[in-house]
Amino acid sequence: MTTLVIIALYLLVTLGIGLYAYRKSEDNPDDFFLAGRQVGGIVLFFTLVATNFSAFFFLGFAGAGYRIGYSYYGMMGFGTALVGISFYFIGHKVWVLGKAKGYITPPELIGDIQQSDALKVVYLAVMVIFTLPYLALQPIGAGILLSQLTDGLIPQFAGSVILSVFIVIYVFLGGMRSVALTDLIQGIIMFVLMFVAVAVVGNALGGIGEANRQVMELKPGIFSREGADGSFTPRVWFSYMILWVMAVPMFPQMFMRFFIPASTTSLRTSARLYPLVTAFLFICPIMIGVMGHLAFPDLVGREADTILPRMLSAYAPEWLAATIMVGALAAFMSTMDSQLLALSSMLTRDIYQSFFNRDVSIEQQVWIGKILVVFLSLIGLAIAWKPPSTIAAIATQAFTGLSLLFPATVAALYWRRTSAASCVASIVVGEVLLVLLYLQIIPSGFTLGFLPIVPLTIICSLVIWAGSTMARSKVSKAG
């Protein structure tokens, strides 16, 4: 009963925020999709954090702490801290261009600065292909969590439906303003509750230090650099260190946030705070996962991802465990609402407006965006009802698949000689190679022990360089 009340309270707060945002909103795409480009520093920081740190941060990090150990912290912490650099090199430029020319979506910006519809469509296709399955996974995960939280009182699919309905209502009402404000609340909830969770679990086990020492005696591999399961080799470690800085800004829901700051100061403040969050926050769920070996020593495979709720059920009073797990729900919702809005804006602007109705009015754009929010969430629920096996496969490749947009994005933003055709070729070649690697048509030895992101980024960059140089020499000869 306590759990249900806490969940209901949280959901009502998100609805209240949606209503508040609705009263503040104006009927134009800038306002609906980008909160009028008027988001201040603190809200921007929390919306970036809450959007980037999905429920994987709560459940997956703890699971990785259990399976791999503290090495996961070094890789995720420093790798994600570097994302601040992307906020400067990609985010700032995107903000300047967006403000000057009124861009709303990433494909719109990249296609327009290169004057190429083909590039816009390819860029859009990659973003949609890798975001849609990821979006579909959110209601599945949220449904499982809600069902666990209520001891099965709310069945998994009903949980997916309930949470999707709440998300759709507040996104429908207030668009990005709702999403950013709920992210602020959800981000604060995540921060505070994660520290509380570590303190409660550590205290129950006789102190964090004592618990760690006991785990060290049981499983010393958890404290090693390679990880308990040998996950990390130097080449894999290097790969991860460069993966996040390229992947994170290429998620459409993150990219779109570069359009929304009210000023340079807002984005700069967020970039400055980002490495501090990774330094102190990321260690918490991993610690809980590590300490989980004392209470649940025999979890295997995917069971490890349930270590956080298990530890809370074992060591925290019901009301506190429920409150903390609401933080995980918040993480699910804050990622899903942003993905819904990003996909809806791209389908409205880059498909409907670009190819079907160039004269669509600004009021109609908002309505189409709202209808698409509902439609996309229904697709998500349909997939959640009976998930095809390919969904998880595509989602696992999402980070690499989206990262392969990075070389074309940097070239389009910074290299004047870039040709649109070379950017298209770079993206297509990279994605095709990724698929061939995944299907093992290209043997894994091709990556030389690195993750695919390393060789594929080099190849994509070479394609842009060679293609642009050839295009330029042709133009010179023709001239």
Partner: protein
């Protein structure tokens, strides 16, 4: 130009320090809170990165409108 080289070098040094393969085989010593010493190394590295980034952004990341006004 000289300053951008300085900032690039600083970020590069921090990146190389995150690839601390030379210490991977060192014996594990638990420090405060029972965490291995290298965890504190990474906490310190992230704080260092935050500090370097702060000074870099203070100098190089300005509002285009401010720059326009200055010109």
């Amino acid at each position: 130009m000289r300053k951008s080289l300085l900032w690039t070098s600083l970020f590069l040094v921090l990146f190389i320090l995150s690839l601390d393969f030379w210490s991977w085989d060192d014996p594990i010593v638990l420090s405060a809170l029972g965490l291995p010493g290298w965890v504190y190394y990474f906490i310190l590295l992230q704080i260092l990165f935050a500090v370097v980034f702060y000074f870099f952004s203070r100098e190089s990341w300005n509002d285009p409108e401010d720059q326009g006004a200055a010109q």
